[in-house]
Structures are given as C-alpha cells and as structure tokens.
C-alpha cells in the first residue's frame, strides 16, 4: 500500500500535469509547484474522494489569513500528508 504522500503526489501529478518525479515531500504546493487555488480545488476533490475525508480548506485558509498558521503547515506536501493522516484517523475514531 502506497504512503499518503505517494498518493497525494500522484493526485497532484495527474491533476495538474506535473511530472511525478519533481514532486517531493518537501515541495510546497503553491510556491514550488505553482498550484493555484482553482487547481487546488481539483486536488482537494480528489483527496476527499480518495481518503473519504473533507479537507478543511476554508479553515486552513482562515488560519493563514489570520496569521495563526503558515502556508507551510498545510501546503508543504509532507505536512499535507500528515494532516490527511490525522483527518483519516479522526474519522476512523468517530466511526
């Protein structure tokens, strides 16, 4: 079974037509990969479907806008994968 990062990287590669081998755990989705907000909706859609969760994009955006979080916390891919794992675990716990 592939890791969460691998699954996310594959989704990004396929959704945004970015070569898979250029996507690393350290990649910042916005600053390094150049993914814009509209493309990120497609990625969020695919992640939601693949993991059975709902990425809280609005909450994250609000936290960044309020200075309570940095974009790195949510959009560097290793961190995004960790957030996804947390959401999956929380969903499993509440099921």
């Amino acid at each position: 079974m592939s890791s969460t990062f691998d699954q996310v990287a594959t989704i990004i590669a396929e959704t945004c037509d970015i070569p898979r081998d250029t996507i690393t755990p350290e990649s910042h989705a916005i600053d390094d990969l150049g993914i814009d907000s509209l493309d990120f909706l497609d990625i969020a859609f695919a992640i939601d479907k693949a993991f059975g969760i709902k990425l809280p994009l609005e909450k994250w955006t609000q936290e960044v806008n309020d200075g309570k979080a940095t974009t790195e916390q949510y959009f560097v891919l290793k961190n995004l994968a960790a957030r996804i794992d947390e959401l999956v675990a929380a969903k499993s716990a509440s099921a």
Binding site: L38, L41, A44, L55, K59
Partner: protein, 156 residues
C-alpha cells in the same frame, strides 16, 4: 428564458434536498438577437449557454442545500458534452445532482434533455462564497420567487 439577461431557468420543477437533486425547466425563446448571429438561417442554442443553463440549474440546487447562506459561483467546467442541438422553441429539462461537497466548494453533475433525449451533460465545480452584498442577496431572492423556488424545502 431570456437569453439576453442570462435568465436561463424558467421554473424549478422539483428540489429534493434529501437526495441532493433538482429538476428545472426552461423554454428556449423562438426569437432572440443571439439567434440572428448563431446562426443566420440555422438558429441554434449556443453550447456555452447550455453549459450556463446547467450551471444555473446546479446553482439553485446548491442554494437550496446551503439554505441561501452562500452563493455558488461557477469555477470549473469538466467533461462538458453537447450531444445534440437545442433549437429555438425547445423546452429543455435540466437535472442536476450534487456529487461532492468540499470545504468551500461543490461539484455537480448536470444533464439537459429535450423531449427525454439527452442533449448535453457536464461536471461543474462551484466555489461557495458569502453573498458579497445585500443587493445580490436581494436579487437572488427575487429570482427565487420568479422561478418558484420551494422555500418549504429548506424550512427548518
């Protein structure tokens, strides 16, 4: 349907909040300045207006699901297919269903039929924004009344 005003939905036939589906109808006008150019001698509903019709039908579904707390704005069109022509005078039926509700966005699947035959379909993505001002909220209320939005469907 008033093409020049982008009034592309005449009435809501059915809004099923539980199933997250909607059916709406619209009568394509027999005459319009749009048909004078598209095309002379062969008037045809433009494909982009069919897509907009599916977006507006989906929009009423989303407004219902969101209880008018947010405004859906078309953000992406995918897999749009115009499978057959729609002509002046045709009565179009649009069916739309919610396929995904994300955080701040939603995805619908919509179809247009004429006389039961599929003429177009698309997957549409919407961003869900707060109403930007009271004027727009008021305008949507007035349009909701015009298209017969079933307020009881979203009553608490």
């Amino acid at each position: 349907m008033q093409l020049e005003y982008f009034h592309l939905i005449d009435r809501i036939v059915d809004l099923d909040i539980g199933e997250k589906k909607i059916v709406v109808e619209a009568q394509v006008p027999k005459q319009s300045t749009i048909f004078e150019g598209h095309f002379p001698g062969y008037p045809l509903m433009p494909g982009v207006l069919l897509i907009e019709s599916m977006a507006q039908g989906s929009g009423w579904l989303l407004l219902g699901l969101l209880k008018f707390e947010r405004m859906p704005i078309l953000a992406a069109v995918k897999e749009a297919k115009v499978r057959g022509s729609v002509f002046p005078g045709d009565l179009i039926t649009i069916e739309a269903g919610l396929s995904h509700e994300g955080s701040g966005f939603a995805v619908t699947e919509a179809k247009i039929r004429v006389g039961g035959k599929l003429r177009a379909n698309s997957t549409l993505t919407f961003t869900l924004i707060p109403f930007p001002n009271p004027d727009m909220r008021g305008y949507m209320n007035s349009v909701a009344e015009r298209v017969g939005f079933p307020q009881q469907a979203i009553a608490p």
